[in-house]
Amino acid sequence: MLLEAILAIAIVSVSLTLIAQGLLTNYRTGMRFQEMVRALNAMDNRLGLLYATQGSDDLLEAFPQPLESPYDKFTVSAKTGPINDHLKNVTLTLNWPMGNSQGQLELETIIYYPNETTSSS
């Protein structure tokens, strides 16, 4: 009788633990989703600025730069490559700490820039 009771409790415990693990996974996914929403926000802001300034050089640092508040936990770095005299390929990489791991969002776009940019720099 006692063995049966212990066995029943053990089965219930294992089941509840598995359910709890599922819920915790859901929680962790939710946390990642929140970070991703903020990352998308930060990336949208950066992209808007990049298009408006037609790829200003101070926005295209290859070394990771922290963003301004409230997105200061994110860092952004850029890789650029010319396509022709007026177009350049830009890859933006956003990084942020996420617990023990690192979150990352990468986006590739093409920026039009007038010739003056190259001649002035």
């Binding site: 509840l16 939710g30 929403v37 600025l49 003056e116």
Partner: protein, 241 residues
């Protein structure tokens, strides 16, 4: 004698074993229950936060879409007092091109009345807060009002549609700033963008920066700030010519 021998030979649990087994079972049971309960609470909280974040995402998309399609019209001959883009610290209104024609759109932070608004307040606040008077509530909505060009010019509100685009904003946290166009921005760089608190100039601003704090009913003191800088494509196109 025979009876005593039978009792002695029957195998069973001692009282110590019984207590030990019950104690172990109880400890395991309580631990599992605690883990389960914590997971349930976290999951419940996450569902609320997830809804709020989805709203934020959709609200920002709606604002971006409207602002990127903003247009300017010269109405000075017929309507000299009409302000095409009216930018204030906590609200802004402008004309935008939609598939159903030109619409006047107004975004502001505030509360609405009615059953739908009441249920939304209940969703984003604590049960004790939900019964407070509207003025003392810690939350506000991000509201989008849309009217036709004719209705706006004639100052009629019969066909005005009002939509709550996000419900869980901290009270009076919705703030807007406006950047005027900077000539040759590609040469001067991003630091040349200077945001102003209001916009009362003719024409459109180059960019609108909207920020707000998401209200967390479980942690009312927390302040998770969102900021979105939206560049008005059409005005940029106009000015670059």
């Amino acid at each position: 004698m025979k009876q005593r021998a039978a009792v002695k030979s029957r195998k069973g649990f001692t009282i110590v074993e019984l207590i030990l087994a019950l104690a172990i079972t109880a400890i395991i049971g309580v631990s599992v229950y605690n883990i389960f309960w914590t997971a349930m609470k976290l999951d419940d909280k996450m569902r609320h936060v997830h809804d709020s974040y989805m709203e934020v995402l959709l609200a920002e998309q709606a604002m971006t879409h409207d602002l990127e399609n903003a247009i300017t019209l010269d109405l000075s001959a017929s309507y000299p007092d009409a302000v095409i883009f009216d930018g204030q610290p906590h609200e802004f209104s402008f004309l935008t091109q939609t598939p159903k024609g030109i619409k006047h759109v107004h975004y502001y932070g505030g509360l609405l009345s009615g059953e739908v608004a009441k249920s939304m307040i209940g969703r984003v606040t604590n049960p004790s807060e939900a019964n407070q008077s509207r003025d003392s509530l810690p939350v506000e909505f991000l509201v989008r009002q849309e009217s036709s060009l004719a209705d706006w010019l004639n100052e009629t509100k019969d066909n005005t549609t009002t939509q709550i685009v996000a419900a869980g904003l901290k009270k009076e946290s919705f703030q807007c700033r406006y950047a005027p166009f900077v000539k040759d921005l590609h040469l001067s760089g991003a630091k040349a963008i200077d945001y102003h608190e209001t916009w009362d100039e003719k024409g459109l601003p180059m960019a609108v920066s909207c920020s707000f704090v998401l209200y967390d009913a479980k942690h009312p003191q927390s302040s998770l700030l969102f900021k979105r800088d939206i560049f008005l494509a059409l005005s940029a196109g106009f000015y670059h010519e």
